[in-house]
């Protein structure tokens, strides 16, 4: 009993343990999961995020001009799967956790970007321009390829350009299997 009186005394001296929120600041660590944001400069519209989203919070609508990616913040359960599996690192988590909103705003809490296709620099087919740092990463082993130039080419022109310019032919085993699966 005496030991608990000691605890009570310490608590009296140290004051309330609760944060004064909303009248003051509350504990907000750097890594807190607040809401999902998409970087429209990196999104390739591959749909991987939608495929892994357990909450069905991601919507992707494609047409001939490009696509619109929508994230419904009120549906999102912040499980981080889209961030983990996005091949372009386009998804990230913002630490802004202030999500209180009026009932009538519930459908307005969305993250939405419309991304347009651009013509391929060589053949003119509408295509998505790859982010520069991703192009650098992909062609890091190949000094003959200019990332700035190749990121403006569509897939078939990229393959042609690669074959024409490359002095070293790097055939990765996973490229082979990926093409086979594509045919199936």
């Amino acid at each position: 009993m005496a030991s608990f009186l000691n605890v009570l005394l310490q608590n009296l001296i140290s004051g309330p343990a609760t944060d004064p929120f909303p009248f003051g600041e509350t504990f907000t660590p750097k890594r807190i999961r607040g809401r999902i944001v998409v970087d429209p400069g990196r999104c390739l519209g591959c749909g991987m995020c939608r495929h892994v989203c357990a909450a069905g919070a991601i919507h992707l609508q494609k047409d001939s001009k490009g696509w619109t990616i929508t994230i419904w913040q009120d549906s999102c359960c912040l499980c981080r799967s889209c961030v983990t599996y996005c091949p372009m690192n386009a998804m990230s988590i913002d630490p802004d956790w202030h999500s209180a909103h009026a009932e009538e705003d519930k459908f307005k809490r969305i993250e939405q970007h419309t991304i347009s296709y651009e013509p391929c620099a060589r053949c003119g087919t509408p295509m998505r321009v790859m982010a520069l740092d991703k192009a650098r990463e992909l062609y890091a082993d190949d000094a003959d390829v200019d990332p700035e130039e190749i990121r403006h080419l569509c897939r078939s022109c990229r393959q042609m350009s690669d074959a024409e310019n490359s002095t070293v032919c790097v055939l990765r085993s996973d490229i082979n299997t990926a093409q086979q699966e594509g045919r199936d």
Partner: protein
Amino acid sequence: MPAPKHSPATFNIPLGPVHVALEEPVYFDLQVDGEIIRGATLHSGHVHRGMENLAQHRNLIMNQTLTERVCSLCSNSHAFTYAMVVENALGIGVPERAHYLRTLTEEIKRVASHLFNLAIQAHLCGFESLFMHTMELREIFQDVKESLYGNRMNLAFNCIGGTKFDLDDECFGFLDESINKFMPAYKELMDIFETDPLICARIKGVGLLPKEDAVRLGVVGPVARGSGLAIDVRKETPYAAYGKVDFDVVVRDGCDLYARTCVRLHEVIESIRIIRQVMRDIPQGEVRTHMNKIFPAQAIARSEAPRGEVIYYIRTNHTEIPERLKWRVPSYMNWEALGVMLRDAKIADAALITNTIDPCVSCTER
């Protein structure tokens, strides 16, 4: 257990389904004789969400998120065991660093879960200030979870093949600092729980589960260890990095509420020991291997959740949607022991005894 024949002095009283011990619904039909319970019938099914069926309609990655939501206090154990069962079925190797990170996460969750149970026990004893104090101490670990993983309950840390992200030195620094702040206060708290006359008067000799009954009913986790059974999946079949860290299985043979309280109190100390070893020994490297191929296979995986052994079973086919996903949770085994524990107990102790198995109704009924 079967209800005895009703004498004129015996009558039935309902207990629950709301707030028996925790805010989780379960309904007891108690046959009482005066204030002594002579029999108890348990009715459950209030929070059945059809999760096993849901799992058979979602792909393997979506199920990672689904299984984390089976239970809140042992959410990480479910996601972790699910990741292990898929890795076992599809033969995915997990990087060494991920093994250590997973072990660390499990133990952080275990500390928070045990402290929650102890706090509720203080609350049910009527010792509200101790309840508040225990929850305040637990808050240190809630802050750790929030700072390391970004959320207080659903950590979203495990994924098939490893972990979704890595922890850096800043995280480990914060964890170390938090443990140093936690330990002196926790030693004081342990002393209060073990020696306070108010607590001891309520829990010593109450809710007896003899060792023979514990074996017969197949109870798991702290309930089994409080009845003198040294069973712990972490020791029996070490998974993740449990084979490489040194810890003891806490066993008490008092068979009562006090023994189970002591088991939980000392397990927190063992968990802190594991956390410190992981922080010291964790290797550098990758945290995730990719899932390459899905083929028909079946596997099981088991792990020691804060409440006891969790078992997952999966059967996959050629698609990414599993054909069958099934899990057995510790509370399912421990429920039956309530029949033994409640027999000849006082009505006033019913909630306290229910709390001692650390019931997780949402796990059991999913």
